[in-house]
């Protein structure tokens, strides 16, 4: 009888023995974030704001600028975003288009047109961009209208980056 | 003193489209220590009555009290427990489990009592000794004769030491010699171990072993005679 019981036990347990254990790989650590300093917040829209497309035609590297447009996309983990001239329409606002899940990427517009109408915005500490997310700062979000005050950096390929002193987010 | 009491018991069951009533308002009393034989033609309701006494069936009406316990209204699990403790059943066929040896077949009822292996061993040995088959303990049913199988079945019925033995045509499938030996054994258990035996048979020769005999015919019980 004991032999039979051991046999049954062995049969029932054997498949579990066949299943040998395997090690697991660990997940990458998540980045930490702090919020953007309050000093960057502009309670009122600064005077003399120009649209991105207009500004790009008349400025020089190092100029102080006030630029107006809409937030296109953020850099995750760094205080930087791309803004686009308000003349460009995101696809959800362009007539009877089907619903678009990511309208801020202006997917219905020619990429070259988007590039020409866009500028980078960075919040820096010295030479380095602050290690925090800009998204969520006083309602800052994709497709929000913003006016940024700062200093223009223009490279030889025509890419404009505004090193921001302050940002006004239109409610 | 009455060990088994049936009071105005009625049992019906369906057979195809017909409703059959083998027992209608039957009353019966069997005293402790009796060897009670119930005679009657086949289909007369003998086995139905025996099944009611052994608590494997329930009456539609009436009361069945065995050892003071009302069986008619007890739950199914309570009846199982009661059977294990109080009744040993010997069937017309031995109904042994074919994959278990004589020893293991006899041991089966003892698992219901949570006994130690040593205690079970002792009791099985006594039961097999009592039926004269101690030397056949390791045999499978197919290695035994019909008479031996029935004796193993009797050992199984008495191993838990119940006070009542019920036997349904226990010699029905046996030759004359084996039948005599099985009946002698039941008689011996009745006399020496003071078992109350309730046996159903249609064989008048088997009936002679009883201390009291009654006949069940058309749902009615009649006294047949007294002990030899």
């Amino acid at each position: 009888m004991i032999r039979n019981r051991l046999f049954a036990l062995a049969v029932c347990l054997a498949p579990f023995v066949v299943a040998c254990s395997e090690s697991k790989e660990s997940a990458p650590p998540a980045a930490t974030t702090a919020s953007l300093p309050e000093a960057y917040h502009l309670a009122a829209e600064p005077a003399g704001a120009k649209d991105v497309l207009v500004l790009k035609t008349e400025l020089k590297d190092g100029d102080s600028v006030v630029v107006r447009g809409r937030v296109q996309d953020f850099v995750n983990g760094l205080a930087a975003f791309v803004m686009t001239d308000g003349a460009l329409k995101p696809c959800n606002e362009e007539g009877p288009m089907p619903t678009c899940e990511t309208p801020w990427d202006y997917c219905c517009t020619d990429p070259a047109e988007i590039t020409a109408a866009s500028a980078g915005v960075e919040f820096r500490d010295g030479e380095n961009v602050l290690r925090t997310d800009a998204q969520g700062f006083h309602g800052l979000d994709r497709l929000k209208w913003v006016t940024v005050k700062g200093v223009a950096k223009l490279d030889d390929k025509g890419n404009l980056t505004v090193v921001a002193d302050g940002v006004y987010v239109k409610p | 003193m009455a060990l088994i009491e049936l009071l105005e018991v009625t049992k019906t069951y369906r057979k195809g489209e017909h409703v059959v009533t083998p027992l209608a308002n039957v009353s019966l009393s069997v005293d402790a220590g009796e060897f009670f034989v119930l005679l009657g033609p086949s289909g007369s309701g003998k086995t139905t009555l025996l099944n009611l006494v052994a608590a494997i069936d329930r009456p539609d009406r009436g009361s069945i009290r065995v050892g003071g316990v009302e069986l008619g209204t007890a739950s199914s699990s309570k009846l199982s427990d009661w059977r294990a403790e109080h009744v040993g059943y010997v069937f017309q066929q031995a109904n042994l489990v074919p994959v278990l040896t004589a020893y293991e077949n006899v041991e089966l009822p003892l698992f219901l009592f949570g006994l130690s292996a040593a205690e079970r061993h002792k009791r099985v040995a006594i039961a097999l000794e009592a039926v004269g088959l101690a030397d056949r303990a390791t045999h499978l049913p197919k290695q035994l004769s019909g008479g031996q199988e029935q004796r193993v079945a009797i050992a199984r019925a008495i191993v838990a030491d119940p006070e009542i033995l019920v036997a349904d045509e226990p010699t029905g499938n046996l030759d004359h010699e084996s039948a005599e030996s099985v009946l002698d054994l039941l008689s011996h258990l009745h006399r020496e171990r003071k078992k109350t035996v309730v046996m159903v048979t249609h064989d008048p020769r088997a009936a002679r072993y009883g201390t009291r005999r009654m006949v069940l015919d058309k749902g009615e019980l009649k006294e047949e005679g007294t002990a030899r």
Partner: protein, 386 residues
């Protein structure tokens, strides 16, 4: 509740050897099938997990809809990144940045009459710095006119491994290449690829760009620096996708195949369930009088159901054991071709457990109809059955 001794269940298995064997075979089949399905799905998932890393990202063209093959980026992007982005990993002073061309093309072996769709990657020596899962297991890195092949390329092309031995020839884009090395990259789709030097491939395909640039950074947070680079260099029209996300999206693309596999396995398991239930039901039918006798002796209905379940479980376990051993024997190390690549089946603990659990759960569910019958057994009538 007192149960019948386990021996009763075990010995009962020998009563109808053919029926027992058939039931065990069905259990073995189910277990093997579930292991195979789990191995397939886990192999598929692992393939994408293996390549998905927290510290590497891909720079792709923003108009390529995240498809490396369709993407084109400027030829010198790697150098630009090295010069402008902080946080790029360096190995012995060399930045871990790899400009690459990815192309699906027709590969041919000498004497081939039909084209064999395959995947070719044009790389520089720096590719080995970024894709550190890749290890040369034979031969050396390729020069002009040469290729190295992944361990699963033979499977992917549907040819014998001997056809891709070192020194053998492989043609694509109208040119012949000599195989000079073989590489492994466990748990990635890279194992189904052919690698060749980037510059000659550009010439051969008349391209002056790359498909994408793979960058390894010092820490996952540094991927933001790559994004910043992409935002500063809007003229390059780049998107940065961490490989962890890229390969997850790729894995999601194969979700229907995964679901279909499970559905098929489920259907077959269901058929086995009905088969098993039928077998047990027949078993109860065979033993009606014996079961009624056990009830008469004093065993409760649930005790008999327990014994039946034991019988089913022992049988299913024995069957599952055979199925699992067969699965391990035949499946471990074998690979499957999928789309433009191939991957190895993963017969690991979870896959095996899926097989066991499936077989045992089926056994238990299969007991249900028989259990119902036992519980409803009319003992008095059943004692008279032949």
């Amino acid at each position: 509740m007192r149960l019948l001794p386990l021996d009763y269940a075990v010995r009962n298995l020998g009563r109808r050897p053919t029926r027992t064997l058939l039931a065990a075979a069905s259990s073995a089949l189910v277990a093997a099938l579930l292991v195979a399905t789990a191995a397939f799905v886990r192999g598929l998932d692992r393939t994408f997990q293996g390549a998905a890393r927290g510290d590497t990202a891909i720079l792709l063209s923003s108009v390529a809809e995240r498809d490396v093959v369709r993407s084109t980026v400027v030829a010198g992007l790697g150098e630009l990144v090295a010069a402008s982005v902080r946080g790029v990993a360096t190995i012995e002073g060399v930045p871990a940045i790899s400009d690459e061309i990815h192309m699906g093309t027709n590969l041919a072996l000498p004497g081939d009459k039909r084209a064999r769709p395959g995947f070719v990657r044009g790389v520089t020596e720096r590719a080995f710095l970024v894709h550190d899962a890749v290890t040369l297991i034979e031969g050396r890195t390729p020069r002009t006119g040469e290729v190295i092949v992944g361990r699963l390329v033979a499977e992917q092309l549907g040819v014998e491994p001997v056809a891709l031995e070192l020194g053998k020839e492989l043609s694509f884009e109208g040119a012949a290449f000599t195989i000079v090395g073989r590489f492994a990259a466990p748990g990635t789709t890279i194992e189904g690829e052919v690698w060749t030097p980037l510059a000659p491939l550009r010439g051969l395909t008349r391209r002056d760009d790359s498909s994408a640039t793979f960058v390894k950074v010092t820490e996952p947070a540094a991927i933001a620096e790559l994004e910043l680079f992409a935002k500063r260099r809007l003229d390059l029209e780049l998107v940065v996708i961490p490989t962890a996300i890229y390969y997850k999206e790729l894995a999601d693309y194969f979700a229907p195949i995964r679901n279909l596999s499970w559905a098929l396995a489920g259907l077959i398991a269901l058929a086995a369930l009905f088969g098993g239930a039928n077998t047990l039901n027949a078993t109860v039918q065979d033993r009606v009088r014996e079961l009624a006798t056990l009830r008469a002796v004093g065993y409760g209905g649930w005790a008999l159901v327990g014994s039946l379940a034991q019988e089913a479980l022992v049988l299913a376990s024995a069957g599952a054991l055979v199925g699992l051993l067969a699965a391990r024997l035949f499946l471990a190390g074998s690979s499957v071709r999928i789309a433009m690549s191939a991957f190895e089946l993963t017969v690991d603990a979870p896959a095996v457990l899926a097989g066991i659990a499936g077989a045992l759960i089926l056994a238990l569910f299969g007991t249900a109809p028989a259990a119902w019958r036992v519980l409803k057994l009319p003992v008095a009538a059943a004692l008279k059955e032949n």
